[in-house]
């Protein structure tokens, strides 16, 4: 992984951590998102937070099949 890709991944991870009120660097990629947020509206809020903070736009297709922290980080990093 080159330094630009690493920096991007770190930025996304930190943004997700802030959205979830956790330390992003300690989030395990295998954690299931619905286990991390109490209810569906909190998940929507997290996804919107990420887009606002990273200045990206996600669409339905991006989130199809996204279940874990790693899935979401990967989708966001691709949009950066």
């Amino acid at each position: 992984m080159n330094s630009a890709v690493r920096a991007k991944a770190k930025r996304v991870r930190q943004a997700l951590g802030r959205s979830l009120g956790r330390d992003g660097m300690e989030l395990d990629d295998n954690m299931v998102l619905t286990d991390l947020v109490a209810e569906s509206f909190a998940l929507i809020e997290t996804v919107i937070n990420l887009q606002e903070e990273l200045k990206i736009r996600l669409v339905q297709d991006d989130l199809r099949g996204v279940n874990t922290v790693g899935d979401l980080l990967s989708v966001c990093a691709k949009r950066l």
Binding site: L43, E45, I48, Q51, E52, V59
Partner: protein, 183 residues
């Protein structure tokens, strides 16, 4: 005093307004400064006031609000999937607000509606008209970014979900809403 069915319906409205307020309040906190943040902040404050109007209305009619579980709009997620960006959130809200205005109009026209209930509905509907307007304007402003066809398609998807949710809600609570729908 009002009957148990009307008490349930007014409590249902109250729960829905509270859910809307909490959701928009959280979003308003996340959004970057701009016209959408500005209008969404007022929108969430309006919904909170509407919940208060229904609470006060129920109390003045001599009853306490019922504690209900899920709000009407909670069911949208299973019917249409999760909105994933701000355009989709505004689209689903536009559809929901139209449903709210129609429902309040039906209730207001029903026979034997208490004057206080009618007054509360009239007060809320004035705000709801502005909600529809600001969201319509915001969606128009997003056409360059998302494309008009995508926005129209998203609204259509949520309209379909709304029809399903409304029919399911009426079926589930037929006994309670029968008098309202008969007029």
């Amino acid at each position: 005093m009002i009957g148990e069915n009307e008490r349930w319906i007014l409590s249902f409205y109250r729960t829905s307004e509270i859910s809307g307020s909490l959701f928009f309040g959280r979003l308003a906190k996340s959004l970057k400064p701009g016209s959408i943040q500005h209008d969404m902040t007022k929108h969430y404050a309006d919904e909170a006031m509407h919940a208060w109007y229904w609470t006060d209305c129920l109390n003045k009619l001599g009853v306490e609000p019922l504690e209900l579980g899920n709000a009407y709009q909670d069911q949208y997620l299973s019917a249409a999937g999760m909105p994933v960006n701000i355009m989709e959130i505004l689209a689903i809200t536009q559809v929901f607000e139209r449903r709210v205005i129609n429902q309040y109009a039906v209730h207001s026209r029903a026979a034997g509606v208490h004057a206080l209930v009618k007054k509360t509905i009239d007060r809320i509907v004035e705000d709801e008209k502005w909600h529809i307007k600001w969201i319509r304007d915001a969606l128009k402003g997003m056409e360059a970014e998302y494309g008009k066809n995508t926005i129209d398609g998203t609204i259509e998807r949520f309209l379909q979900a709304d029809r399903e949710v409304y029919e399911k809600t009426v079926r589930e609570h037929e006994e309670r809403v029968r008098e309202l729908l008969r007029t």
